[in-house]
Every structure is written in structure tokens, then in C-alpha cells.
Amino acid sequence: MSQSLESAADFTELRLEHVSQRFGTVTAIDDLSFTVRRGEFIVLLGPSGCGKSTVLNCIAGLVTPTSGSVWLDEHRIDTLRPEQRGFGMVFQNYALFPHMSVRRNIGFGLVMRHRPKADIAKRVDDVLKFVQLQEHADKLPGQLSGGQQQRVAIARAIVIAPPLILMDEPLSNLDAKLRLEMRSEIKRIHREVGRTSIYVTHDQDEALSLADRIVLIVNGRACQIATPLELYQRPASLEVARFMGFRNAVEVTVEPGPGPHLRAMASGIKLTGSPTDGLAKGRAVAAIRPDDLMPHHGREDAIRARVVETEFRGRDYAGKARVEGGPELFFRSPQRIDIGDAIELAADPGRVLLFPSSDEKREPQRLQ
């Protein structure tokens, strides 16, 4: 008799332990481990091709990991076929059955579970009301708009009341306005339905807005697992910082400074910043968001540079400036600036992150 996880509707945690996935010579996932607690909304974030969809497929059972294991509390599930796991999944291109009406699409999972017809009809109707698609119940997917198809896909996943809902970039095929609307929809659904969700996206804004915790995946490895705030303010490595929008990365030399901060110096550059990773002195990279770097006058810490490009953005100006004999930096200015202006840029020490220089070998982190 095939096992099924119907009874595990209330679980405490889902664990990936040292999961690796190799396709021939390509390593899609490299020794990935993390834990999802019940009720959490976890986002797997990363650039295209980083393996995040593969992780989701492993959890769903559509792909078997080359090594490692997946656990639901004490049950090992990576040996189960997808139809035995009972998770709900929303696919990137929705994967609605084109020959079935909206009603039949949504009810499909319940039919597979041999529920009585009356029960199915009621649950489908409830869900249709929940996603506001009652008038479209008997249409075929081909007759619906992108946003409506999206909602059918979600409805189909939640009607089976699964312990876990998996979503693979469900918003990436929608236009910008619809994407924002659907994002709030997804938030609302998670709040009201309360199921544990694992969501894959490459869009930072989506991740920051939806997640309880984010797993940042680059090249198949988990670079950081943290809350959105932590990830935004305290990226764990230069790589992560770059991905999260720290566009400026300047090579400096550091030495101890006031309080917990370090002084960072390079030609034409004087900064105070926050160290990461136990950095105390030596060569380092200073990472600063363009929004945090602005022209100031008469500060002790300053970067002397000349403006090479400006762009008017309504609220402020975005600019690019070149340090004499040094790098180009991206910054913002509330006042007008012109090409050729000589300016002094400065940033809050809390917003300047100092990472050890990548020349130094670092231990791959075991993250939890």
C-alpha cells in the first residue's frame, strides 16, 4: 500500500539535509541544508539559473536528489513519488489542464483523493469564492486572462488543504501592475489559509515583501538564510550584498576605528564602516548602496570624486562619479548635480559594510 502524507497535515518542520543535485557534469544544487517551520512563508531567492527551481522540484518529488535527504519531521520523504507527498504546487506557467473547466481543474486533486462528489463540489465552491472566480467556474483556461489563470492555479493548490504549498515563480509571467496586485493576493491568502509556503523568485522586491525568511541561493549554494530585514541590511557576503543592491564595492585597507567600526582607506577614499565576518584589519571591500551614498560637505570621512553621469529621477538625482585614479561609484543626490562637478561623498558607518577581501579563503558555511 503506498504511503501517503495525508495524516501529516500538521507537521512541525520540513528539513533539507545536505541535498545535492547533479545533472551529468552540471551541479544544480550543492550541499543545501535548511529547515522550514510550520506556518512560515519561505522564499528561495536567487538569480536565474541558480538552482532554486530545482530545489522546489526536489521538495515536490519531481526530481530525485543525487545525494542528501528531505524530511518531514521524522518521515523521510525524498523516496516518495510526487503523488504520494500531497503537497500543493503552483507552476510558473500555471500548468492548468486545458481541456478541463476551471471547476474541474480545481477539483482535480480532490478527485484523485477519491473524495465524495458533494464534498468536492462544496470545497471547490468555497475556494472559488475565496479567489473571486465564481463567474468563471465553467470556463476553459484558454478563455481566462493571465491573472485569472494564476488564481485558478493557486486555488487548485490550496483546495486540497496540503501541509505545504510550493510556488515556482508564479508571478513572473504577469505584467507589472498585475504582479503587484497578485502579490497582495498571495499575502492575503497566506494570512487567511495559514499553510506553510515555499516560494521561488528572482525578484528581490517580491522576496522582501512576502517572506518570513529568505534563503538566498547562488550557484546552487545557500549563501544566506535570514529574515528580509537582516538580508537587506546585513548581507552575509560580498556576493549576497551585490545581489541585494550594494552596487558599490570598493577595495580598501582597514584598521580598527571608533567603537565597533573600522576605518577604511584607499586613495581619495576615507570611510568608517561596519565589519563583517570577524574582520579586524587588512585588505577588505567596502560595500555601499547607492541610496546611502550622498554628497556632503566638510565631513572627516569623505570620498573625493568627479561626477561623470547624472540622471534625473523626479525625487532626486542618480549619479555616477569617478574617484581620481580609482573606481566609479553610484550615488544619489537630493540636489541637482552636473557632469564635471567635484563632490565629496559620504555614508553612515552603519550603511557601509566591510567584507574581507575575496583573496582570503573562506570556509563554506554550514547554515541552518
Binding site: S2, G61, L62, T64, T79, L80, R81, P82
Partner: protein, 278 residues
């Protein structure tokens, strides 16, 4: 996705059936091949001895050098004319909506759905009345019937893939229709035309019924000559017939392999665009 026991059983069954099919297919081909190299073969597992003289004798007996020349003249003529007629037609169908287009498309697809014998007989009758039956021209004309629509069928997805704006750009910069064709369209369509040409070649080599109905003794393609040889096999040594059959198979095989380098096997029978699946 993981497989259940039932799925594995089914899988094995399917492979078994494939294996059976392939073994028998190999046996069939091998029978012909071995016989063509055998001295005498009546009721033993293998022929009494081996020789290559049947190939020589088949070559002379059936005048294969002439037959091959005729075959390729016919086939290449059919390919050339079918492409010359079919590509512009496919282009016009892809780029223009005009009254009667649906009817015309249907008319073009009909020869592909009606089997050759059905229209071959009246066609042969007509060619006979025009004194074209029994000549190479007659055979070529007859073979154009299934091939021109086939070229249209194969070319259509290729043409649809070309962005019309590329053509507009050519026209804006001064190229008339003819020069747009020559400098822009033909180079872009070259892979499609190559595919279409090769497919037409393979299909015409194997096209039996039409050539059979319209050819005279000087204008038979290899496959028709082979048929007559098998038909009269009682009189001739089967070994030389087999030798010719192998020569025929080798000829088609060579072109088939060449064609498969450029073409998805599915295009032999169905309309498929050549886009790789993402």
C-alpha cells in the same frame, strides 16, 4: 519522477516489444543482405558460400548505371521544381490574407491526404493522352503532385518564423520584392529549403505508385525497377534481385542519413517547426 512497480513492468514490456520488432527488422534486412552475397542458399541456415558476383551481375543485368542516372535526374528535377514552385507559394500564403485563401490551402493539402493510386490512375490516363506517359517529363510531372504541397507544408513554419520587420527593413532601404527575396529571404530560409529539399528527395526516391503508373521502360526509378525484378523473380536469380534491393536500400539510406543531419525525423510526416523545445 519516481516509478512504481507497475510502471517499471510496463516499461519493460514496451522495451520487449521494441526489441522484438527490431530483431525481426534486422532479420529481414539481413536476409536480403546475406542472400545477396551468397552463392546458393536453399534450406540451410546460411548460404553455401559467399561471393560478390551478384552485385556485378545485377549491375549489368538491370543496367543499374543507367537506372541510377535516370533516377537521380528525375529526383533532382522534382526537388528543384518543387522547391521553386513551393517556396514562393508558401511565402505568399504566410504573408497575405486574400479571398479564397482557405480554399486554396485546402486544395494544396489535398494531394497529401489522398493516396497516390487514387489520383495516379486518372493522372496517368491524362498523361497518356498528352503523349507524356512513359517519358521522364511525365514521371517528373506526376511526382510534383505530392511534393509541391509537401514543400509548402514544410516551409510554412520556417517562413512564419521570419519577422516581417526584417523584410520591411529591406524594403525601406531600397530592395524591391525580388531583391528582398535574393538578399534577405533566401539566405534566412536556406535551412528550411534544405530540409524541404532533402525530405522531398527521400520521399521521391521511395515513391512507388506514381512512377509505376507513369513511367516507360526508359524512365523508371530504381524502386520501380526493383519491383519488376521481384515480380519476375521466378525467372531471375533471387540473389541478383537481392543485390539490387541492397543497392536501393543503400542509396536511400545515404540520403536519409544526410537528411537526418538537418532535419527532425518527425518532419518526414508531420508539420513541425524546427524550434528547439525550451
Amino acid at each position: 519522477m519516481g516509478k512504481s512497480v507497475l510502471e517499471r513492468l510496463w516499461s519493460s514490456l514496451v522495451w520487449l516489444v521494441i526489441g522484438f520488432f527490431l530483431i525481426n527488422l534486422a532479420g529481414i534486412i539481413a536476409t536480403v543482405l546475406v542472400d545477396s552475397f551468397g552463392t546458393r542458399w536453399f534450406d540451410t541456415w546460411l548460404p553455401a558460400g559467399f561471393t560478390t558476383r551478384w552485385y556485378g551481375s545485377a549491375w549489368d543485368e538491370f543496367q543499374l548505371s543507367d537506372v541510377l542516372i535516370v533516377t537521380f535526374e528525375i529526383v533532382f528535377a522534382v526537388v528543384a521544381i518543387a522547391v521553386l514552385l513551393g517556396v514562393p507559394a508558401a511565402y505568399a500564403l504566410a504573408r497575405r490574407q486574400f479571398p479564397g485563401k482557405h480554399v486554396l490551402t485546402l486544395v494544396f493539402m489535398m494531394p497529401l491526404m489522398v493516396p497516390p493510386i487514387t489520383y495516379g490512375i486518372p493522372l496517368a490516363t491524362l498523361l497518356y493522352k498528352l503523349h507524356l506517359a512513359g517519358t521522364m517529363s511525365g514521371v517528373i510531372l506526376a511526382n510534383l503532385v505530392p511534393t509541391v504541397p509537401f514543400v509548402i507544408l514544410v516551409m510554412t513554419p520556417f517562413i512564419e518564423q521570419i519577422d516581417t520587420r526584417v523584410e520591411y527593413a529591406a524594403r525601406v532601404f531600397g530592395a524591391g520584392l525580388f531583391r528582398t527575396f535574393v538578399y534577405v529571404l533566401v539566405p534566412l530560409l536556406a535551412p528550411g529549403m534544405l530540409a524541404a529539399g532533402l525530405l522531398v528527395l527521400v520521399r521521391t526516391l521511395a515513391m512507388f505508385e506514381l512512377t509505376f503508373l507513369t513511367a516507360g521502360s526508359e524512365s523508371q526509378t530504381l524502386v520501380v525497377v526493383l519491383y519488376y525484378a521481384v515480380f519476375a523473380a521466378g525467372v531471375r536469380a533471387t540473389q541478383s534481385v537481392d543485390a539490387m534491393a541492397i543497392i536501393y536500400m543503400a542509396t536511400t539510406l545515404v540520403w536519409m542519413v544526410i537528411a537526418l543531419r538537418f532535419v527532425n525525423p518527425v518532419q518526414l510526416v508531420a508539420r513541425v517547426s524546427d524550434q528547439p523545445r525550451r
